[in-house]
Amino acid sequence: MPSILTRLLKSKNYEKMSLDQLIDEYIALYAKNAQSNFNDLLSELMIFLEKYDQNISPETVESIFASKIASSSMSAVPNSAVLIPLIYEKSMLEGITAPKVTVQFGAADERAIKALESRMMWVGNDSSKRTQEKLKSIFADVYEGKYTHDELMQALRENFAQYADMEVQKLKVAADFNLRQGRNLGTLSRAIEQGDTYVQIVAKMDGKTTNVCRSMHLRVIKVATLKKQLDAIVNATSVDAAKEASNLSFSKIGVWSATPPPNFGIPPYHMGCRTIIRQMSAEQVERMSLDEFGREYEILDKATYDKIRTKQDHLSASKLKSVEALEKETFGSIAKEGVHANDPTKRVIWGSNGFMGILDKNGKIETIYKPKKGLDAFHDTTNEVYFDKLEQSFKAKVKKWLGL
């Protein structure tokens, strides 16, 4: 049987179609063949679009594709286990411009949402029943897909007309926090329900990313270690208890221990936080390389591997025999970490071995080399150093001396 793409190519003059039209057409054909595997279809479309227009990133296509399916009324579109996390992840990472999510939430999400709705947090000084009822109703509407996050502000403005703009803004931040926490709790609950052992934390990396999110980005955490915090958040019966359970105390310093502190790990980690939880299978985790703090890293591609293996400033500047050993030594003992001065999506890592590693936003290693002028080169490459092992250990010693 010809693939959907072959049928599309034969039936339409695809070259004259806009990307939007092309995806519409593809989804229409897809709906007729809903039994097919979603991943295969999406991959097929990606490969085609790569040839069709090289300026379109796979992320853009994935996002448009997901949003179109999400807002579609086609009954043939399956509510698949693949599709829902995809839409979740895209909408959470891309922030308030995310598409409406009209797919049905699973039981795990509903429980988390219900628990969140049972108490309101950070809604200014007004904790009257009427305010809470209004907010609950708006939250419910967002979860049911009546509003996008963008439209949430407008809804809050209309429902709380008596408040000053500043107050509405505060409400929006509080509402956004609750919604994001609810969705992350939903993902974690689903992971627990499905017997997953690990989850991964994924931050949106750019110039606005905070230290805590950088320290948690791509960290693989055992589900069991988050269970205590999950229970504490879901069972909180007061605003104070909910605040304490949410634990925002690491937002400036970040978390620099191999195992996250007790009662910490579930995003959001601060107001306006865009970090999410991603489900992980044990098989995926087995294949991963993790740095000193349990964050995933991987060499970008074979060409990068060859570069580090053959060029004189990289592997040969060490006494090690393999690229893998150099990676392990550099990322296994991190002395400093900062934001790249020319590109805030990149992390610059200074290993205790005197090598500098640069990772892209997805944790892919773009280079590892030994700069001739050592730490001066590291400081010249970064515009903000957010982790310094020496400084942290000194502070810890001072605290100990002072008996704090």
Partner: protein, 112 residues
């Protein structure tokens, strides 16, 4: 006779290389990822990305950066293999070579 060196751009790392070995360790040089200088002549340069800040630093330093050389550039494809047929020679000083690398990165960024 002008020396011949090679320019290599691999991912976001770039290199200006020669076959001359050795290094005058004590030679004062501007802050750059890696470098070697022998008898006051640059024999090796390497860094990751090339910023305007670094370019200015080299221009201000002058000296060995002003030596006129031939720079042979052979681009690499996405798999890191050298594409001999697209090779070219840049005649000029080290600043010209750095500006060439800077522009190559600009082109790369534009083409994704």
């Amino acid at each position: 006779m002008a020396r011949t060196l090679t320019i290599d751009i691999w991912g976001l790392d770039w290199y200006i290389e020669s076959t001359t070995k050795g290094d005058d360790e004590a030679y004062e040089f501007p802050l750059i990822g890696n470098y070697s200088v022998v008898d006051g002549k640059i024999t090796h340069l390497h860094d990751y990305m090339l910023s305007e800040k670094l370019l200015k630093r080299c221009v201000e330093f002058g000296g060995p950066f002003l030596e006129h050389c031939s720079f042979v550039y052979i681009p690499r494809n996405k798999d890191g293999e050298l594409v001999q047929k697209d090779g070219k020679v840049i005649e000029g000083d080290f600043i010209d070579a750095l500006v060439f690398i800077y522009k190559e990165f600009e082109k790369k960024a534009k083409n994704g």
